[in-house]
Symmetry: D2
Subunit: 151 residues, 4 copies
Amino acid sequence: MNDAHHRTRCRVIYADTDAGGVVYHATYLRYCEIGRSELMRGIGLVYQHIEEQGIILPVTECRLRFKAPARYDDMITVDTHVGSLTGFTCRFNYRIEREQADQPKPTLLVKGFTVHAAITKAGRLIRIPESIYTPLHRLCQATDNSSQTGT
Amino acid sequence: MNDAHHRTRCRVIYADTDAGGVVYHATYLRYCEIGRSELMRGIGLVYQHIEEQGIILPVTECRLRFKAPARYDDMITVDTHVGSLTGFTCRFNYRIEREQADQPKPTLLVKGFTVHAAITKAGRLIRIPESIYTPLHRLCQATDNSSQTGT
Amino acid sequence: MNDAHHRTRCRVIYADTDAGGVVYHATYLRYCEIGRSELMRGIGLVYQHIEEQGIILPVTECRLRFKAPARYDDMITVDTHVGSLTGFTCRFNYRIEREQADQPKPTLLVKGFTVHAAITKAGRLIRIPESIYTPLHRLCQATDNSSQTGT
Amino acid sequence: MNDAHHRTRCRVIYADTDAGGVVYHATYLRYCEIGRSELMRGIGLVYQHIEEQGIILPVTECRLRFKAPARYDDMITVDTHVGSLTGFTCRFNYRIEREQADQPKPTLLVKGFTVHAAITKAGRLIRIPESIYTPLHRLCQATDNSSQTGT
């Protein structure tokens, strides 16, 4: 874990769960959104400001693997980092975990990613603007470096 | 039941339920939205067209009373009618019921209403435009008449 | 404001909003749930423990009045307090507000309440058990006192 | 298109959309659930009955690619078929499309899949029981045959 990873905590509420007694699978995409927006806020990228520039960063792809269920009232952690970045797309990787007082290591619940493209409000695909690309790229490099040194 | 009442059927899915094994209370507002939009479509009021006129009909108040729970896979019926209509607000009344093959009468699940005002996209309160008021008023009268004759 | 009022902050995410550009009306019931469960946690009533006793506290009624819209990325505050308490029902009152750096007073967005009854897992209505009633009653009295002294 | 494909229609409601003016990405997993449960109902597999056998078929993986946005009031079609089936997992494939009166071919909105495993209520992984496997396998073969003949 390092500066390139953003960690946010969420409390599971009833609204997040389903009749199976666990968190509904689509709800994890909410948690990913929370992780992603807090990561971006942390590097000065407030989504609202991005939109004011007339740019939207919609999800073009998502993939989640469900390893263990979260339940009502669980406190979970969303670990988010920039997985990759090109001129046109940005991929965020997520690890959603549950920390428990009586266990030394957190339990991995969900692993996955979302891919985002930059488009204008009219729906035209554009290069990710410099003002967004640069801070994301800095994070991306931090991830690479930390991977190389094995931390 | 008469022409003034619109009835729509919905199937309860897992996403609608919570860990209590029943439909999450806020989900019934989804069912009300479905009932209301189908009632409006039935009298030629497509919400999208209303919005194209620069008008929004947001919910200014809602009240629901929960009598019995709906469960996963239940087929429920949303009965919607115009409860009252003034120059500035429209109230829709809802009865959400579950029909069951082995029971002569449907079970009442939820009873409630939503109140809507007309506002411009800039957020200014306006009179409900003629094109929306007239068809709603016609329905409202049909409700009154049917009440008087006891049907 | 006093000890009887619990205040929780929530950040509005995209998932909470609708195509009208504002928070979808049913989403405020999520915020109420967050406020209510944090108030209860604050007085030692963890909902999960209540359920382990075989008791559920479902919503039997809800009412919300929408005064002003919350938007994406807004930081909102849910103020929750016990509005009334009988042997069989508990009512929670909510005020959802938005604080803004450039304004001296927060903007009231939504005002409302939920009423809860105690039922067994089999669905039978019961008196609210002592272990739940007592801490809620203590809060309720605190609310009354503060009202009398005008704070 | 053939017997192996199940097609369900859904109307997009306000609750499904977000402040970007389009359907929120996680909402498509709701549509997939609708498609999947209707496909299963069509071959006599009512999820509720499966659960009564003490078996759950949770989502262990999902992947969606977003090609074009659905908007409020769109009528969309969810095309679902069994993509693959092993003793332990079943994969459903989805194509979500929008039909428009003025266009000869529907627009592809979302393509994706969900993978499901069979587990007991206690959470233990088991082989998919015969009563579920057989009807799914029949559908799977129908898909293969239709692919071979190019329809």
